[in-house]
């Protein structure tokens, strides 16, 4: 390496191999060896020799951070925030106000004033006034909707004079029991509702193959949901016995067909009255005896209760219990919450309304209903409130066209004990509620409204209904509502018109009720109708799930709407399950067919609201 004394002296410049030159702080030319591949000449300061060094590594801000630059293009790292938080800008100058992690804004929350108390975690409804209400059910204004008449019964089949119809909830078919020349038939129908108006499409009669000599009003039917079978029992007046036949339904509604099992003789006498009940709960259910049959007035004058297992090719009788002497008039038997088969009846000899309770595996209990006034010509029926585990017995006590109706609340005090307490209420003691007992009626549990409905036939071709609430301290009656006259024509037959029911669930409906014009002769033509007592519900207008609890009107009510994640008031949810609005306003995985989807549970205490209003189930 030559020594060079200033730029003027440079004429030639030689150096070693693979060098680069630079001048130092004294102006002297220096050299530095070329570095390794990929290295770059890097200053080490004004007074130090430059050197080849590796390129600096990529910029880094540390682990688990989001990177941003400030207003000088300097990179910085921002540690990730807590789960669920979102990166939020502090403005356009990140030097002055760096971004931060903040809780996610609650999208899908609507706020309005409440019009009534709403509990968090339950569904809130948008009122026409823009306020928020809880889900509720109320009687529709005016008469119980339009009565949809069906023009006659196919082929002269006469509906049975006892409870004549039942609902197959699996095939959505209303079956009407009828007789024609003493042969038992089932008439399948499609029932549908549009708003408050029911409609019914009747199908061709289905012969119950094993019942050809049955009393004109002596057949009963039920649907066994556990075994997916229809069950029919008939009082055979040719042989003086009771036959039972089960069958499996195919198809739906008016086009349903039935494949019948072998008909079985189940008694050696023909009782005065026959009732079938689906034993849906309690010990009887567990034992497999899903069919309860009451024979009122057997060959010894007593009530006889039998339990059957219909799961095989023919029904098998599991056990029989004998109750009190039965009198002459019976009402629909029911299964209470403990598996007891309860049966109300009027004992003509004693002029009393009575009840029996048959407990599978234990026997019979029963009592007189105080004050128990009833005579022949009275009408009696019973229904069971499945929510409150209480029953209602309704009795019409006069044979005049201006009769009164009494009802008793019954409390089930446990399996096998059969103890019943109750309070009588004469809610039809005013003229507007007079009941023509010869025209009969029925009462039944309406799961949709949580009330027992009592139907009865009045004079002047009208019928009426009354919602009854059972609270444990006596029946509380609502307002009786009647149709206008000439909606249907009463029968002039000795046993008058009969009105029986079948409950059906579905969108925006409560129940269907069949009205049958009775007859004293088999095979005569009878018209019948299906009508409903429409209870309006605001369920369709539900908006979302309440975030906070309000205690009355005029308070700020926040509601999670679509996209919101409801959590307040919720617990024990099943992740991944769909949740639906119940008639109570609460959320449940239960969907009875008409319940509205709210959304899917994403945690045990969280639901992602996916639906609102009239969205499909």
């Amino acid at each position: 390496m030559p020594t060079v004394n200033g730029p003027d002296e440079i004429t030639t410049l030689t150096g070693g191999d693979d060098k680069v030159f630079f001048t130092d702080s004294d102006g002297n030319v220096q050299e530095v060896s070329i570095g390794a591949t990929g290295t770059v000449l890097t200053s080490t300061g004004l007074t130090a020799d430059p050197a080849f060094s590796a390129l600096p590594a990529d910029a880094t801000v540390g682990a688990n951070k989001a990177m941003y630059t400030n207003n000088s293009d300097v990179e910085s790292g921002l540690a990730f925030g807590a789960a669920g938080t979102v990166l939020t800008s502090g403005g356009t100058d990140a030097t002055a106000t760096p971004p931060t992690w903040e809780a996610a804004a609650e999208g899908g929350v609507y706020t309005a004033n409440s019009s009534a108390a709403i509990t968090n975690g339950s569904v809130a409804v948008l009122d026409p006034a823009g306020t928020l209400s809880p889900v509720g059910t109320a009687s529709a204004a005016g008469p119980p909707s339009t009565v949809a008449m069906s023009a006659g019964v196919v082929g002269g089949d006469a509906p049975s004079a006892q409870n004549s119809n039942f609902w197959d909830e699996d095939s959505n078919t209303l079956f009407t029991i009828a007789t024609n020349s003493n042969s038992v038939k089932l008439i399948p129908s499609t029932v549908s509702w549009s708003g408050a108006t029911p409609s019914m499409t009747q199908g061709a009669s289905i012969a119950v193959t094993g019942m050809t000599s049955t009393f004109y009003n002596g057949a009963m039917g039920m649907y066994d949901k556990l075994n997916n079978k229809v069950v029919v029992a008939g009082r055979d007046y040719g042989y003086g016995n009771v036959k039972m036949q089960t069958g499996t339904v195919s198809g739906s509604g008016s086009s349903a067909t039935i494949s019948w099992d072998t008909v079985t003789v189940v008694t050696t006498y023909a009782p005065s009255y026959l009732w079938l009940t689906y034993m849906r709960s309690g010990p009887a259910y567990t034992a497999g005896a899903t069919v309860g049959m009451i024979c009122s007035v057997n060959s010894s004058g007593a009530t006889e209760a039998m339990f059957f297992d219909p799961s095989g090719s023919s029904p098998v009788k599991m056990t029989t219990y004998y109750g009190m002497s039965a009198g002459t008039v019976g009402g629909q038997s029911v299964c209470d919450g403990s598996g007891n088969l309860k049966y109300p009846f009027i004992h003509n000899s004693f002029g009393q309304a009575r009840w029996s309770s048959f407990y599978y595996g234990a026997g019979h209990m029963g009592s007189v209903i105080a004050p128990g006034m009833a005579t022949w010509g009275s009408w009696i029926d019973m229904a069971w409130d499945e929510n409150n585990n209480r029953g209602l017995i309704a009795v019409a006590t006069s044979s005049s066209s201006s009769g009164n109706v009494y009802c008793w609340e019954l409390t089930d005090s446990g399996a096998g004990t059969g103890a019943i307490t109750g309070t009588d209420r004469n809610w039809a003691s005013v003229s507007t509620n007079y009941m023509n007992v010869y025209n009969s009626g029925s009462c039944f549990w309406d799961v949709f409204s949580g009330k027992i409905m009592v139907w009865w036939v009045m004079s002047a071709d009208r019928h009426a209904w009354m919602p009854v609430t059972l609270s444990g301290s006596g029946a509380t009656t609502g307002t009786a509502t009647a149709t206008s006259g000439s909606d249907w024509s009463r029968s002039g037959q000795p046993y008058g018109s009969t009105l029986f029911h079948s409950y059906a669930s579905g969108a925006n409906l409560n129940f269907a009720s069949g009205v049958f014009s009775g007859s004293s002769s088999a095979g005569s033509k009878n018209s019948y109708a299906i009508s409903n007592a429409y209870l309006s519900t605001n369920e369709d207008a539900w908006l979302g799930v309440a975030k906070n609890t309000t205690t009355g009107s005029g308070q700020s009510q926040e509601v999670y709407v679509i996209g919101g994640v409801a959590t307040e008031g919720l617990s024990g949810l099943t992740v991944g399950s769909n949740y639906y609005v119940q008639s109570s306003g609460l959320l449940s995985t239960v969907n009875t067919g008409g319940d509205r989807l709210v959304g899917k549970a994403i945690a045990a205490d969280k639901i992602l609201v996916e639906n609102t209003g009239t969205g499909t189930a």
């Binding site: 004109y216 002596g218 007046y237 040719g238 003789v265 189940v266 050696t268 007035v297």
Partner: protein
Amino acid sequence: MAQIIKQKDDNVVAFIFDEKDTLTLDEDKLAVSYTGKIGGEIDMIAPLVNSTTHEIVAGVTPPIRFYGGGFTTYDGSSFTVDTTALNARIAEDPAWVDPPILNIE
């Protein structure tokens, strides 16, 4: 002609069938196949009736009407209806109708 099922101990008649019907009375039930059925198809069973308590009597001239439910007995040559019991039963059942005329030749 008819064939009947009656109780052995008191001659109470449980059923009257056409002789062309096929009856099978065994230890746990009576099985009936009505006239014209092909093969062994069973039309009706009666678990309450069995060969221990009941018997089949064939070649019987049927009555005009058969009052079942324990009101009719057969002594081997003729039918007897307990009219006292029958009338009492009718009196307590406002829905009572007489059984049909038997269609058995």
